[in-house]
Symmetry: C2
Subunit: 193 residues, 2 copies
């Protein structure tokens, strides 16, 4: 499948081991090459548009000269939105605990924006999933943070970890999108290149 | 967490590596001990009740003498229901291809029934998830069946494999329930023992 991609040297611009695993899972061969950007976005941007905006910004950060010949760059950004606030990566233990308490007993949105960029074409899209957490006890939140140290994760949780097994009672939409890459939609978009 | 289970020797009666991984994921220590049963069920049983019925039958198949002291037995059964038919494990390649074509472009239900059985108490419950498949092309179905050989899976697919990444556009409910064990509900039930 995706034989149409054989003409490209594919670069995934993400350090996330979860994204790397998911992209492999849909059958894409790639190398990893990342480039730091400032993750600021315009203050008036609707929260729902932040992840695709940042994925496009990550793609534009590459100069063509840095890229292999016949390149395709795939970038992604994931945000957690709860009660009209974006939760990024937690600063420290207290911040992680605060974030998970904000999610406890509520529904939140996870938006992943993805940009697929070649010399000829740039496509940006996003996928929204809705995640419902159980009411979590304080000792459960602390147990999770101290044992799983979710400091590299937006919203301070990984749905594929203990807290996803025990604390998430409902996902509506794509589970893999919550992990960090909307595999099914990405597969459809990649077919078009 | 689940320190209340320390008094039990826990037996998981399932050969499924996915169930073993999920039970480990919620932090339960267990050994695996399985017992073959005939998987017949009463013809008039509503389809939705088949999985919990079979999980209870699997638990009852154990004689107390076979079990360790202070035992807790956990059994589970997963079925796929589409258009008022239960899809079990496929008989062969053609049967697997037929099943996936039945699921293509439609919503189906996945029901996992679980029984937790100790000397003092037996609890049976089930969880339903709804899964939506994209319209799959014939070559995608054959690619999946030939590369992943889903002969040990109800409905002939594993949601955690290529076909789940590329072919499933929506899950409503528990993703882990679709994999074979409703981890969040099981965690809640185990707290009560």
């Amino acid at each position: 499948m995706l034989g149409n991609l054989n003409k490209y040297n594919i670069v995934l611009a993400s350090k996330s081991p979860r994204r790397q695993e998911l992209l492999k899972g849909i059958g894409v061969d790639f190398t990893v090459l990342t480039k730091g950007i400032d993750e600021n976005y315009p203050a008036r941007l609707p929260l729902i548009d932040v992840a695709p905006f940042l994925s496009l910004k990550k793609a534009k950060a590459f100069e063509e000269a840095e890229l292999p010949e016949n390149y395709m760059v795939i970038t992604a950004d994931t945000v957690v939105i709860v009660e009209n606030e974006i939760l990024g990566k937690p600063k420290d233990r207290n911040d992680a605990i605060r974030m998970i308490h904000m999610l406890s007993g509520k529904v939140h949105k996870v938006v992943t924006g993805v940009t697929v960029h070649t010399k000829e074409m740039t496509k940006t899209f996003s996928v929204i999933s809705k995640v419902t957490f159980e009411n979590l006890e304080n000792q459960e939140v602390e147990y999770y943070v101290d044992n799983y140290r979710p400091y590299d994760k937006a919203g301070a949780y990984g749905v594929q970890e203990w807290i996803g097994y025990c604390g998430v009672c409902n996902v509506e939409g794509s589970y893999f999108n919550v992990m960090g890459l909307p595999t099914q939609k990405l597969y459809k978009v990649l077919k078009e290149f």
